[in-house]
Symmetry: C2
């Protein structure tokens, strides 16, 4: 057999995540492992909670990282808030709404779907109709930032509608946290989950979540046990809680938590609002370059996520061949389309540490070279267009 150590290539990660991880975060991962009940580690956990509260803009006590990737964060929200027979209005305008439906049904719940075209926002009017038609619904679930399309829905308005009809909300903020305005307390969001490998630029494997008092009360007063032992917040909170004594639940992913802690320290140093502005700024530069080249973004300007840009693949261009060349010749990863957008869009991420002028220009330059012989783009203009945006704010 004789398998050797794995030495990964050095990529530039501009797909839908994972995003480039800063050397500071990589260095944090390699610090010595300590025990999950070590007083030094417990101190780090307290800081982690504060740092996540800062990133989510919340004072929610129940704020911590689930010890597994974002899809486990999603499942943590559903299994804890739902009991068999509960009705959930699920908004779907991309891949992740579909996954929410799966979660509801696997909890023994009933999913009422509100569908919007991929690449458009969740329509508040349709949601209001559904809320009126289903006064017995317990939860409204929607995706704030659809990673599969690059669309940003209006989380504040949707949450207000839900509350007007006595529904809790579950919000997917996997791609929004740290990259675009998100205010858990001001918007009164009940339950929210995110990922680490998007705008926080920590490695994948953890899912920050936050629950307000209303959601926590529902969880504490359940009639049935949570169907997942691993995700049962009544148990997990014995470990992540603030009590004097931490009860062992499961062994936390120590080194991965070091990485998330460091990435949140970096976010705090930059300032959350500054990070949002940086994402918006480099998005404008990328967009200027892409449009100068003759490429088009899928999503309407007002609904675009700065950190995830769905670019329409021009007719006659071989999707996979372009991505393969970018990866092989330029060590540059951009994302493919998912589901009904497979083969129709590329997804260019500008997330966290990867959201920089250098990356915007490198991506435009590389894409231009790969597309140069297809005849579908205008050459020699993209980088200059991006630079003129970059120079505009010095």
């Amino acid at each position: 057999m004789a398998i050797k150590s794995f030495i990964p290539p050095q990529r530039t990660l501009m797909g839908p995540g994972p995003s480039d991880v800063s050397p500071r975060v990589l260095a944090a991962l390699a610090r010595p492992t300590i025990g999950h009940l070590d007083p030094a580690f417990v101190g780090m956990m307290d800081e982690m909670k504060q740092l996540l509260q800062y990133a989510f803009k919340t004072k929610n006590e129940l704020t911590f990282p689930v010890s597994a990737p974002g899809s486990a964060g999603m499942e943590t929200c559903f299994v804890n808030l739902l009991e068999p027979g509960d009705k959930v209005i699920v908004c779907q305008n991309g891949v992740f709404g579909g996954r929410m439906k799966e979660n509801v049904e696997r909890c023994g719940g009933v999913a009422v779907m509100v569908e919007d075209a991929w690449g458009t926002v969740v329509d508040p009017n349709k949601v209001e109709q559904a809320l009126k038609a289903h006064p017995d619904a317990k939860v409204l679930a929607f995706v704030h930032a659809e990673t599969s399309t690059g669309v940003q829905s209006d989380a504040k308005t949707l949450t207000e509608l839900a509350h007007k009809h006595d529904c809790l909300v579950i919000v997917d903020a996997v791609t929004s946290l740290g990259g675009t305005p998100l205010e858990v307390d001001a918007w009164n969001i009940d339950a929210i989950y995110s990922g680490t490998q998007k705008c926080l630029s920590a490695p994948p494997g953890l899912s920050p979540v936050s629950f307000n008092e209303r959601a926590a009360t529902v969880i504490k007063n359940r009639k049935s046990k949570v169907q997942s032992w691993f995700m049962d917040l009544n148990l997990v909170m014995g470990y992540w809680g603030t009590g004097a004594k931490r009860a062992y639940h499961h062994t936390a992913p120590i080194n991965n938590l070091y990485g998330l802690h460091e990435s949140l320290v970096i976010l705090q140093e930059e300032g959350l609002e500054n990070a949002w502005a940086r994402h918006a700024f480099h998005h404008r530069a990328l967009k200027a370059g892409l449009e100068a080249m003759g490429l088009r973004l899928l999503v309407k300007e007002s609904d675009r996520l700065p950190q995830l840009n769905a670019v329409v693949i021009p007719d006659g261009v071989d999707d996979a061949a372009v991505r393969t060349r970018l990866l092989k010749e330029f060590n540059l990863e951009i994302g493919a389309g998912l589901g009904s957008l497979a083969g129709k869009v590329w997804r260019i991420g500008l997330m966290g540490h990867a959201c920089s002028a250098k990356n915007v220009e490198y991506c435009l330059q590389s894409l231009e070279q790969v597309l140069a012989d297809t005849g579908v783009i205008k050459k020699g203009v993209a980088v200059a267009a991006a630079q003129s945006v970059h120079k505009s704010v010095v």
Copy 2:
């Protein structure tokens, strides 16, 4: 706020896990993050499967690390193999059998408990009686190496009994994998889960699992959907499978997988059987030192796990005070007792990278210093006793 980077202390980890992580594995964690669908990463996943097959001594195709800690590996086995109403015979001789019961019940199954005293093995006679009394049981579940007590049960015999009565087995090998003989194929084990932070000495956060054909067939032919979307092997295998095309399921914990890969490369370099022998060898040295000091191991000699030593706390000694002094003065972590053994035993781990002559002697020396003024131990003999074992095999 202004929270700073977290710089953990350098401990010696001789508790029940996490164990000391080798500098090679820590360095692997810090390698650049790449995409979870990157061809280079997919190549690493294929190697990971081979390395885990080697560690488990199996050819099972369905062998991979669950993207979450060991308790999620446990849950992965139960949610995939059980359907509502299924009966499971659960053996309990420590903490983790109790967790299995929770898992069965949360899957809508019925748990028939076979209980043995903490610190003793699962009694095959009782198991056989239960199998006879419950011919409708679908699964026998037991813990191979009880981390809470340091007991090793006879997984081969228990599996044979289960098969004689047409039951599948689910085996907890969290603490045994890599530390003590375990042969998945030779013993015909159907489903098994482990952890990374014990004898593999990778950081916590992943759970290696393996399922044989019999178990895979049960999973493929389920009548109901697996209640967990995140853990549904029918979906996960689209990503970890061997098909030409990997389907995106969830984003794998990239850097944590680098660490596990490196720790398995180290295991392969040493040789699995050599690793087992090393654990047995240093256990003998530790035991000689502890006994010379006048301390006693909880578990009967024939049933002891070399990698997890439950030491009876002498009368009049303050459990927590001793552990706190070891941590503060010696940066040495040993484990407390759990459940009915809380306050009654210490758990001294000799796992993976932490299982070395240096650590055995350091632990004995430190413990001796801390216990010196209690009057309950014999001074100045422990290290010499351990050294005489170490010198016996040169």
